[in-house]
Each structure stands twice: as structure tokens, then as C-alpha cells.
């Protein structure tokens, strides 16, 4: 098993700069997510780690050894692709055995190892079936089996659940995570699905346009986004942005939006100009005695909660409240924002201003 360290990694395709300068560390045994929209450089990063692309500059360390220029075959990595390909003319057992047989492992050892893997994956009953007649889930399990049977240093997965329908995907995500918990192998997983990343990952790297926007544990990233991009990309609905022109002093604990003062965590850095007040939907409360008003424009029922869209003097926002609270479209309501959870951003650069609440998280990002 392995620790993987990425230092100032860069990749250019001709004049296109796919990955700008990534630095992050994947600890031994972590389930690590590379998250971002399509074209952000997450797959390119993974392919460089695997040895399928050569970096333009920068270093990749696997267990302390720099492997940036080593071929894929010498890195001892197992790669699971989105489109898993099995050998169609072989049965399940031979598909899983193949990597071991080609390494020249003795037959009895192969048999034992394959059996062990099949147990872990819960596919002992189909070992002698041809792969042609298998369900999508079983095919995926066989593909995984072929990857893990070699005991590689790390597993790399590129949207392995991308092709599955929503219901089954949820199930496989849980299965993959449980498998990881049993085996403890370092796993690097590429996805564009923020929920999948939050759900499965021990740590997340959020990438956008070739840049690492933030790196850390899921809850920290959700609570204290380093940039407006992260705040919008993580969370459904995303963080609300109330744009305003004003100032927030160093050491200050409030800002003024449309004539109303709102409390904040104590600011470590101040700013003046175009700013954004960021608050998550579940940290908005309706209170008719509050001075700041919003007009309800839409509600969306979601079972126990509902999402309410409101027009405010600083733009449209969405609040998540209990579904039994009655709200009428067209009505106005007073709004309060939980001051402990607020992030203020520089609207121009999109960067979060440091406060006593978020500086611990932003310091290591």
C-alpha cells in the first residue's frame, strides 16, 4: 500500500494547459476523490499518476519514490475505467485469474487467491459462468476483481460508476466503499458528482480549469469553501451568494447588506469593494421579525425538507426548511442567516476572506 505525493504537477497538450500546478498528498489507505466538472484536469491528473501520460513538469512520488517518468507497468497500480472491458471468451474465474497467470503465479496459488477475491466481492457462485450473460453489477464486480487480485500498491478509478443508472449506482458506491474499508488499499477516484465525492471520500481535491481549488476532508470543504467555485460546486442546492458593495474590516464581525447588519465570524483579513456574502441553504431561517426581507418565488417539496427560492435585495437565494412549514408563493418573509456559518468572498477573485472560523481549514488547502 502506498502514500502518493503530487508536487507542482503540470501538463500541457500543445498550447492547451490541462493541469496548471497541482500539489496534494494522498495518505496510505485513503479513499481519495478527484472532483471537478468535465475538462477540469482531473482525469489527466489521474492518468499522469498512473503513468498513462507524462507530466510536462512536476513530480509524482509513490511511497517516496519519484515515478513521473516511469512506465505504467513499473508503478504497480491497478486502473479501473468507466467502461470496464472483460475478456468475452473467458469465464469469470479466468478473467480474474488472468493478471496472476500472466505473472507466472503457480496454479494452486492462483486458485486460492481468486477464491479469496470472489469471497470479498460476493461472486463465488458465478465463478464458472461466462461473462457474457452477467448483469451490469456482476460485470463491474468481475472487473474490480481483476484489478484487486494483483494486490497492487493503489487503485485508480476513473468514474467507474458513471455508466450505471442512479439506483444501482448508489448501491455500487456503498459496495465499493465497503470493499475499500475491508482491504484498506489506497484508492484514487475521479468523479464529477459532488454527492458521490462527499459520500465516499476520506479526502477530496476540487479542481477547476486545471487548478486545485481546494483539498481537504469533505465536511471541511462543504463548511468552509476556499473559493466561490467550490462553494457552488459542492452542495445541492449550492451555497447562496448575496452580492454587495461595501467593506469588512480586519477584526470585524459584521457586514451591512441593504442597510441591515449581519454578524459574521471574526475576520482575519479585511476587504473593500465588490464582495459576496455566502450562506448555505440550511443556514437560513424565516423569521417575520427580521428586517431583511425576501419574497418567496418558488417552493420544491423534497419529503422531509423543502427548498424555497426567494428574491432578496441582493439576488435570488434558496433556503432549505422543514416541509411542514407553510410557505406561500408571492409572500414576503424576514430572513436570518446563521452567523457562525457565513463566508465572505472577494467577488472579483472569488477567493474566501479568512476569518477565525475558516482559517484552520484554508491553511492546509
Amino acid at each position: 500500500m502506498a502514500q502518493i505525493r503530487i508536487v507542482n504537477l503540470r501538463k500541457d497538450f500543445g498550447s492547451f494547459n490541462a493541469v496548471k500546478s497541482s500539489t496534494f498528498t494522498i495518505e496510505d489507505g485513503e479513499f481519495f476523490m478527484l472532483l471537478g466538472p468535465s475538462g477540469c484536469g482531473k482525469t489527466t491528473t489521474l492518468r499522469m499518476m498512473a503513468g498513462l501520460e507524462l507530466p510536462t513538469s512536476g513530480e509524482i512520488f509513490i511511497d517516496g519514490e519519484e515515478v513521473g517518468m516511469k512506465p505504467a507497468s513499473q508503478r504497480d497500480i491497478a486502473f479501473v475505467f468507466q467502461m470496464f472491458a472483460l475478456y468475452p471468451h473467458m469465464n469469470v474465474r479466468r478473467n480474474i485469474s488472468y493478471p496472476l497467470v500472466s505473472q507466472g503465479m503457480p496454479r494452486t496459488a492462483v486458485r486460492q487467491k481468486v477464491h479469496e477475491i470472489a469471497e470479498i466481492l460476493g461472486i463465488t457462485n458465478i465463478l464458472d459462468h461466462p461473462v457474457g450473460g452477467l448483469s451490469g453489477g456482476d460485470r463491474q464486480r468481475v472487473a474490480l476483481g481483476r484489478a484487486i487480485v494483483r494486490d497492487p500498491k493503489a487503485f485508480f478509478m476513473d468514474e467507474p460508476l458513471g455508466a450505471l443508472d442512479a439506483e444501482f449506482r448508489e448501491h455500487m458506491a456503498e459496495e465499493l466503499r465497503a470493499l475499500h474499508d475491508r482491504m484498506g488499499a489506497t484508492t484514487v477516484y475521479v468523479t464529477h458528482d459532488q454527492l458521490e465525492a462527499m459520500q465516499m471520500g476520506d479526502k477530496i481535491v476540487v479542481m477547476n480549469q486545471g487548478i486545485v481549488e481546494q483539498f481537504g476532508v469533505p465536511q471541511d470543504i462543504y463548511d468552509w469553501p476556499a473559493t466561490k467555485f467550490v462553494a457552488q460546486f459542492i452542495g445541492s442546492p449550492p451555497m447562496n451568494f448575496l452580492d454587495f458593495h461595501g467593506m469588512v474590516g480586519k477584526g470585524g464581525t459584521s457586514v451591512t447588506l441593504d442597510g441591515t447588519a449581519f454578524s459574521l465570524p471574526r475576520m482575519i483579513e479585511g476587504a473593500n469593494g465588490d464582495l459576496t456574502f455566502g450562506v448555505r441553504p440550511e443556514h437560513i431561517q424565516f423569521d417575520d421579525s427580521a428586517r431583511y426581507r425576501g419574497r418567496i418565488v418558488a417552493t420544491e417539496y423534497l419529503g422531509t425538507t423543502q427548498i424555497v427560492s426567494l428574491d432578496t435585495p441582493n439576488g435570488q437565494i434558496k433556503a432549505r426548511i422543514a416541509s411542514h412549514e407553510a410557505v406561500g408563493i408571492g409572500q414576503t418573509t424576514g430572513l436570518r442567516f446563521d452567523p457562525r456559518t457565513v463566508t465572505v468572498f472577494d467577488a472579483g477573485t472569488g477567493r474566501a476572506l479568512r476569518s477565525e472560523a475558516n482559517h484552520g481549514v484554508l491553511a492546509h488547502g
Binding site: 466538472p37 443508472d165 442512479a166 439506483e167 448508489e170 456503498e174 466503499r177 465497503a178 474499508d181 454527492l195 462527499m198 459520500q199 465516499m200 476532508v217 469533505p218 465536511q219 462543504y222 463548511d223 459542492i234 452542495g235 445541492s236 442546492p237 449550492p238 448555505r280 441553504p281 440550511e282 418558488a298 420544491e300 417539496y301 423534497l302 419529503g303 422531509t304 427548498i307 427560492s309 432549505r320 416541509s323
Partner: protein, 331 residues
């Protein structure tokens, strides 16, 4: 706009029964979402109403008129498919205008411009109106194909997973837009999806289909809070309802074989010990994967819970549903 009534409609493709006697009333001005997994009969229902397929049995009425002998054009329906098809040689504007320029309608020019402008605004494609339709991204093409239906004023809109190819942000914007179009215009919509969020947030009525049969029909809240079966209960709610042996937590009502517990209906801190297998921080809430008497279950708790894997937490069911051996609701 019009009411649509299906009475005992059946359709088979060879030996495969797609619809097995569905009766359904889509009230005038309602937004009806048909929900179910692949193969439940959702799309077949839509195609039968549109006239793209003919029913083997039963009757379909649109606005009080039996449509059995009417062509799709005569039925006055507007359909949006999952796979968009635009006229490739026309611009976005020309594509959107096309239905209005039909010789039967004779829409005045000013009216066409107004309507196209309005729809383009709603669908966030105003800046692309003069682009060739082939010079658009997939999401933009799908918005144009929705727009082409919206410029018309048919008796019913039929939509087959129109948002499934769009990205998350656009999908959530368009959910609200489609809903407000329907509310403001009083349009009747029959909408097919397997996305429960779309069903819950937009529908006035949800029809739950299972293997060609309509198993429940009601408001999203009715189906969420008062499901008739395990199947209906499993259609709505994320994470999904926990279905466990009826007597797992104590005495069960007569005839019950299973207890159904929505993740949010498991009280923590009281009751009996369960083992925390895994904690998933999703940001706004945290999911707990628990093991209770050799059964796995999922519950939700506050975002910043101190619980972690390996801990013991007491749980107690609240508002349980009980189901019998066939999956039907007992209490």
C-alpha cells in the same frame, strides 16, 4: 388545455406486456409525473397518448374526445423526447418558430417574435437565437427542443425525461421554470422520469408504475407520507426507506412481515443499541450506516455529529409502516 383520461389501457410488444390495464385521469391544468424504473411502462403510456403507438385495449380521451382514430397531429399534443431532434439546417430561432409557422395556425409575425423571445428567455438561450442549431452543446439543443414545444399552446404537453441530459445546475433551474410555466399558463403536462427529485418537486400528481400497472396515484406528499406498498415507498426518498423484518424492534401488527422506516424516522439516543458501521458527511446532513441485530440500516443525523465508525448509538423507530408478504401496506 385539456383533461386526459386513460381507461383500462393495455399494450404488448410481442410477448412483452408493456402496459397491463392502466386507468388514469390527468386533470386539466395538472402536472402529472409517471415514475418508475426502466421497463415500468412510463414511455409506452406517453407514446399511446401522443398517438405514436396504438393501444391493444382500452380508451384514451383528450379533452373529452376519444382519440383512437386521430393521428398524432390531430391530437394537438406537443411532445419533447429524451433524444432531441432539431432541424439541422435552421437557426435556433427558426427551429423555435417552426411550429408557429404551420399554415393551420397562421400566427402573426409580431406574435411569433414575442413568443420565441419569451421562451428563449426562460430557457436561457436568448444569446444563441441566431446560431445554427448544430452549433450548440447537447444541453442547449435539448433546451431548444423543449422550447419548440413551449411556443405552442397544445391541449397537453408530453415530456419524456427532457432534463436527463442536462447538467445539475441547469436541471435545477429548469425544474423551477417548467413548474412555473405550468402553474402560470394552466398547461396540462404528462411527464416521464426516473428522477425522484423531478417527480417530487414539480408534480401535482405522481403516478407510480410497476411492471405496466399503476400502483399509486396521488400528490408527492401523499405518496411520500402514505405509500400503499414497499414498492411505492421505495420510489421516493433519498436515502431509500429501510425495509426490515417486521418484529425487529418488537411486536408487529398481525399479518405484517416487514417494517418500513424512512431514514429520518429513526430516533437516535433512545431505544436499543445499534452499531455505527460508517459515517458519511454530506455537508448539510450526515448519514449513519448502522448495524442492528445483523441488519443494515441507514439513518440521517446532523451535519456535525460527533459519532464515528465503531460507536454504539441507541435507536428507536418512529412512524413505521408495516407491510405484508406481498409488499402491500398493512398499517
Amino acid at each position: 388545455m385539456a383533461e386526459v383520461i386513460l381507461s383500462d389501457v393495455a399494450k404488448s410488444f410481442g410477448s412483452n406486456v408493456a402496459l397491463d390495464g392502466v386507468s388514469l385521469t390527468i386533470p386539466d391544468g395538472s402536472f402529472v409525473v409517471l415514475l418508475g424504473p426502466t421497463g415500468a411502462g412510463k414511455t409506452t403510456t406517453l407514446r399511446l397518448v401522443s398517438g405514436l403507438e396504438t393501444a391493444d385495449r382500452g380508451r384514451i380521451q383528450i379533452g373529452g374526445r376519444d382519440v383512437a382514430n386521430l393521428t398524432p397531429a390531430q391530437r394537438d399534443v406537443a411532445m419533447v423526447f429524451q433524444q432531441y431532434s432539431l432541424y439541422p439546417h435552421l437557426t435556433v430561432r427558426q427551429n423555435l418558430e417552426f411550429p408557429l409557422k404551420s399554415p393551420i395556425l397562421r400566427t402573426p409575425r409580431a406574435e411569433i417574435d414575442r413568443k420565441v423571445g419569451e421562451v428563449a428567455e426562460i430557457l436561457q438561450i436568448s444569446h444563441k437565437l441566431d446560431n445554427k442549431s448544430t452549433a450548440l452543446s447537447g444541453g442547449e439543443m435539448q433546451r431548444v427542443s423543449i422550447g419548440r414545444a413551449l411556443v405552442r399552446n397544445p391541449s397537453v404537453y408530453l415530456m419524456d425525461e427532457p432534463l436527463s441530459s442536462l447538467d445539475a445546475k441547469l436541471r435545477s433551474d429548469l425544474r423551477i421554470e417548467l413548474k412555473s410555466i405550468q402553474v402560470n399558463s394552466g398547461a396540462t403536462l404528462l411527464y416521464v422520469t426516473h428522477d425522484q427529485i423531478e417527480a417530487m418537486t414539480m408534480a401535482t400528481h405522481v403516478g407510480v408504475l410497476d411492471k405496466g400497472r399503476l400502483v399509486q396515484f396521488g400528490s408527492p406528499r401523499e405518496i411520500y407520507e402514505n405509500p400503499v406498498s414497499v414498492y411505492a415507498a421505495s420510489r421516493l426518498g433519498q436515502p431509500r426507506i429501510n425495509v426490515l423484518p417486521a418484529d425487529l424492534f418488537g411486536a408487529a401488527p398481525a399479518g405484517a412481515t416487514h417494517i418500513g422506516l424512512r431514514p429520518e424516522h429513526i430516533v437516535q439516543g433512545e431505544g436499543q443499541d445499534s452499531f455505527v458501521q460508517r459515517v458519511e458527511h454530506l455537508g448539510d446532513q450526515t448519514r449513519l450506516h448502522l448495524s442492528f441485530r445483523d441488519h443494515d440500516l441507514i439513518t440521517v443525523t446532523e451535519a456535525h455529529t460527533p459519532l464515528k465508525g465503531g460507536d454504539i448509538v441507541k435507536i428507536r423507530p418512529e412512524k413505521p409502516y408495516f407491510f405484508n408478504a406481498t409488499g402491500a401496506r398493512v398499517t
